[in-house]
Amino acid sequence: MLKIRDLSTAVIGPLSLTVAPGQCVAISGPSGAGKSLLLRAIADLDPWQGEIFLDETPAHAMNAADWRRQVQLLPAEPQWWASTVAGHFPPETDVDPTLLGFGLEVWQWPVQRLSSGEKQRLALLRALARRPRVLLLDEPTANLDDASARRVEALVADYRGQHQAMVVWVSHAGAQRVRVADSYYEMDAGQLRQEAE
């Protein structure tokens, strides 16, 4: 269970949100509403006030690096720094790149050759390789064609089902949030409002 109580930063909140194990919550709203800042605060990348619990453990009781490994933020523009794709994954990873349409040779690809869509898809694999309890997805299909977007949606749904993981999915596309999420929120001017199913 991811439980957020009266979370606020310099720009957003105070707001509350609860995500049950295996649940996916979609958040949409105009740009500048604070969606990305909300995800950054939950991942503890920006200073915030309030309370965040993961399975009853408060964020502050956990080492910050452990917290971020378990509460993975997938940013809208993922960064790559090592020379090959494999350099960004744990040595004994068991994620399967073929699920997102890559061949096994993808591990040796130089990162400067990756398109923005490839970067986005591989970043999802990279996050899943850390076995997070919570996935915070910031428009993870923004640079993808329909077929690739569907594969990403399916992979997240599988992971969620298998590990009872919690997902917060920021998405502009109305049709997508109906496909991926169990409940919907609208964010505007730093405030969160639940919408009817």
Partner: protein
């Protein structure tokens, strides 16, 4: 041994004509260096004359309290200078504190070590030894620390997206900034390592040149220069290590968040 040739004010006046000539050329060519040249040249004269007066007095007195006082002033000025050389620096007292504290720890330790364990003058704080040694170590440490901290904060700013990405993947602050820390260390240390490598071949180091000009036998000057080189490199190395360690910690808060809001551009 030949008698020490004393320089008259006229001799120095002739030498200053060279700087004047360079400044004139710079104004003619609109290089924008003329004013800086003149101001820095004037500062050299005034500052060194003042130091000469002070040192003359201190050397006569042989009092520990004067040596300490002069050392503190040297440290504070070096701290300010190291801060001024950084394009992006830590905000508030940290901007001054990180470099100054590191310089204090390394330069003073090195100088004390040389005085107590190597040279052994009587008393140990004999200003003829203590002040030039400290000045030499401090000046080089200041350059190393300024270069390293400048690289650290600049790289952290340029690569902030990558640092945060590594944090998102569950790396600790130390892991996320490791490459940058290493590059910063290298940047600070390379000048003194290079200086050791070319010493005596490409350049006669300043301290040795001074001693030889003042009439010391070359072998004695060389021995002091070797000691000086080692002290400089060790002082720069330990000082840079401390500054980069402190600086890299200051870039993150207690929750290992990258806090570039703790830095300011020089112009801000």
């Amino acid at each position: 041994m030949s008698e020490l040739i004393l320089l008259s004010p006229l001799d120095l006046g002739i030498a200053s004509a060279l700087i004047l000539l360079l400044a004139l050329l710079s104004w003619r060519m609109r290089l924008g260096l003329g004013n800086d040249l003149m101001i820095s040249g004037a500062r050299t004269v005034v500052q060194l004359l003042l130091v000469g007066l002070i040192l003359t007095a201190v050397f006569e007195q042989q009092r520990l309290v004067w040596v300490v006082l002069i050392s503190v002033v040297m440290l504070l000025v070096a701290g300010r200078e190291a801060m001024a050389r950084q394009e992006r620096r830590f905000a508030g007292w940290w901007g001054f504190g990180v470099g100054t504290l590191s310089m204090f720890v390394s330069s003073f330790t090195m100088t004390l070590f040389a005085l107590l364990a190597v040279i052994g003058p009587e008393p140990w704080y004999t200003p003829q030894y203590a002040i030039p040694l400290l000045g030499m170590v401090l000046g080089n440490t200041m350059t190393g620390i300024a270069l390293a901290l400048d690289r650290l904060t600049q790289n952290a700013w340029d690569q902030r997206a990558i640092i945060e990405q590594r944090l998102m993947l569950g790396e600790s602050a130390g892991e996320a900034v490791r490459d940058i820390r290493r590059h910063s260390m290298r940047n600070g240390m390379i000048p003194s390592i290079n200086a050791m490598a070319v010493a005596g071949i490409v350049s006669l180091p300043g301290m040795m040149t001074g001693q030889v000009l003042a009439g010391s036998p070359p072998m004695e000057a060389v021995k002091y220069q070797i000691l000086g080189m080692f002290l400089i490199t060790a002082g720069t190395g330990f000082g840079t290590l401390a500054a980069v360690w402190l600086g890299a910690r200051r870039l993150f808060d207690d929750r290992q968040r990258l806090r570039l809001d703790r830095t300011r551009l020089r112009s801000e």
